[in-house]
């Protein structure tokens, strides 16, 4: 980093400055590692301990009774493969619906500007003002008996997919990005006789990759992390998500097996994070400021 920060370079260059810098640096790096990686290490390593060792006091730092079998047992006893597949199905289904419907809507609001478009956008953004947890009760009653079509969506993937589309934050991020696409580019496409869909597909979407990546990652992570809504709307154990399934079985399995299950449940999003760090962090600062 070359930009000037709080402490001047001259001050840092002095022996005292250097000593203070390295002391604070070591303390912070050690502290952060302990606080943030420590629990994760504890989770992964405890998953390898046998049922005696995992509750032993004083505990062991490195598992003595190396039992990788816990992971296999967790996988089987808690039926993690079903839970994992369910969660993937919900997450990627929700992603597809959000990408198609929210991108189309944001594009329409940004570029096609239909009659009442402003009012619709306003009503969408207004939902950001309503605390999400307050809406859970009426939303639950709604999915029990969806108006007009009169369907009960409980225990179906629709109960996860469709409400996830009603995400004003997606609309906001996408619309803001589409607004910044140069108008000449779109005019040129229109002159060549491209339909709005063609323009969206061949011109707008290719330049929107960064924002699409952000929206996609947050869509998947959002479903992966959600707890209350899937707990209420997917009561059938065969349809549950990882979060809810592990929670509902958590009191019935030995501690070491449970911890192994937690590790397995954490791996996919951790991997996703390590791979897409850059996108996630940029999305956070792009979106984080504007909730």
């Amino acid at each position: 980093m070359s930009t000037r920060t709080l402490i001047s370079p001259a001050q840092l260059a002095r022996p005292r400055g250097k000593a203070v810098y390295w002391t604070v640096f070591t303390l912070v790096v050690t502290g952060f590692t302990l606080v943030f990686l420590g629990p994760l290490y504890w989770m992964i390593s405890s998953g390898f301990k046998d049922s005696q060792e995992v509750i032993r006091t004083p505990p062991t730092l490195v598992p003595e009774s190396f039992t990788p079998d816990n992971y296999a047992r967790a996988w089987e006893v808690m039926d993690l493969s079903t839970l994992l597949l369910n969660t993937l199905y919900y997450a990627f289904g929700a992603l597809a619906f959000q990408l198609i419907l929210d991108v189309a809507a944001a594009y329409s609001l940004s570029r096609l500007r239909p009659v009442l478009g402003k009012a619709i956008l306003g009503m969408m953004l207004a939902t950001l003002m309503i605390p999400a947890t307050v809406l859970v009760v009426p939303q639950y009653l709604t999915v029990l008996d969806v108006p007009v079509v009169e369907r009960n969506l409980l225990n179906t993937p629709w109960v996860i997919w469709l409400p996830s589309v009603a995400n004003a934050f997606n609309i906001f991020l996408l619309k803001r990005f589409f607004d910044s696409v140069p108008g000449e580019l779109l005019d040129a496409a229109a002159m060549d006789g491209a339909s709005p869909l063609r323009t969206l597909w061949s011109i707008v979407l290719p330049i929107s990759r960064p924002i699409l990546a952000v929206v996609s990652i947050f869509a998947v992570v959002g479903i992966w992390k959600d707890f209350l809504w899937p707990m209420l709307t997917l009561p059938d154990p065969a349809k549950q998500t990882l979060n809810v399934g592990i929670y509902s079985l958590s009191s019935g399995v030995p501690v070491n097996v449970l911890i192994a299950a937690l590790t397995i449940a954490s791996l996919p999003t951790l991997l996703l994070f390590l791979v897409f760090q850059r996108n996630i962090m940029s999305g956070l600062t792009a979106g984080g400021l504007k909730g």
Partner: protein, 320 residues
């Protein structure tokens, strides 16, 4: 593939061959037809999302207001005026839930707002390992909450938990982290902060990196020390983002539910971790009293609407 499904549904092959803009000014009828067609296309793009918003956001919003003043008995819906509100307010758990929620919010802001800000200021000074530290603080945010919370339950265990082990090692008295009514809420806050502070820390960090370095140089020429530089440069320069984050965190923490629900079963020892949203949950899903749940939700909504409005106003200022 749903993508191609949509393509075939909304693309009108005839429109693709539509002639480009004509140089001749179109007649009134033609202009009307074109406008109509343009609007139909635009609304075609909108309709999917609008339907989802209508069914799963707007309609439930209206229903929340209606439910708060209705009661349902044996399938019969009737208006009850303010009965639901009085039921909720007369509940002995009402004030306790608000006190707990407020306590959670205050503690969570102390840990989850002040700590990340200070951490961001320190990290921003580092010339090494910034990427590593950034990665570390955000790592827990990516974990499924059930995994983090159950892990904390294991760490908090009074018998074999790691935290009491550390206390024993330091010859300090062991604690009943989640079972002690006085300690349960702070324990929940600590876990929640660990899980969630990454986002705030990274946003703070990004804000700090936007401060022009000349301002610090100018402050030094005026003889400002470290703390005066923070007070007169860092904080004013990041004030807008700090306020936005503060409001957002207040709105989020006032709605706390998952962490206490998973750590202490929601209520906790002597109701010490019952939060407002947990009370809403109980009314709706344990007692099937949707009216009371909606009435309490409405109170929370009204309270948070103030913060939301402030947020929107500040956010607009940020746009300019």
């Amino acid at each position: 593939m749903p993508v191609s499904g949509l393509t075939t549904r909304t693309a009108d092959p005839a429109r693709r061959q539509a002639p480009p803009h004509q140089a001749v000014p179109p007649s009134g009828g033609e202009r009307f037809a074109r406008g109509l067609r343009r609007n139909l296309t635009a609304h075609g793009f909108l309709i999917g999302a609008v339907l989802c918003f209508a069914v799963f956001s707007w309609y439930p919003m209206i229903r929340e207001f209606l439910l708060a003043f209705q009661k349902t008995e044996g399938g019969e819906v009737s208006w009850t005026g303010l009965d639901n509100l009085t039921t909720v307010v007369d509940d002995p758990a009402f004030w306790q839930a608000w006190r707990n929620t407020l306590l959670f919010t205050v503690l969570a802001l102390l840990f989850g707002f002040v700590v990340p800000f200070v951490a961001a200021i320190v990290i921003n000074e580092f010339h090494h390992a910034q990427g590593y530290l950034r990665l570390l603080v955000y790592l827990p945010v990516m974990l499924p909450p059930v995994a983090s919370v159950l892990l904390f339950k294991y760490l908090y265990d009074p018998g074999y938990g790691l935290l009491n082990e550390v206390l024993r090692f330091l010859h300090l008295p062991e604690q009943q982290w989640l079972q002690d009514a006085a300690l349960s809420m702070p324990s929940v806050v600590a876990a929640a902060t660990w899980m969630n502070m990454g986002g705030a820390a990274l946003v703070h960090l990004a804000a700090l990196q936007g401060i022009p370095g000349e301002l610090y140089e100018a402050a030094e020429l005026d003889g400002a020390g470290l703390f005066r530089k923070i007070w007169h440069v860092t904080i004013p320069q990041t004030r807008l983002i700090l306020s936005l984050m503060l409001l957002m965190q207040i709105i989020a923490t006032m709605q706390v539910f998952v962490e206490p629900f998973l750590l202490t079963g929601g209520a906790g020892p002597q109701g010490s971790t019952t939060t407002v949203v947990h009370l809403i949950y109980q009314y709706a899903f344990n007692f099937n009293n949707y009216g009371a749940a909606a009435a309490l939700g409405l109170l929370l909504l009204v309270l948070l609407a103030g913060f939301s409005a402030a947020y929107v106003r500040l956010g607009r200022a940020d746009d300019r």
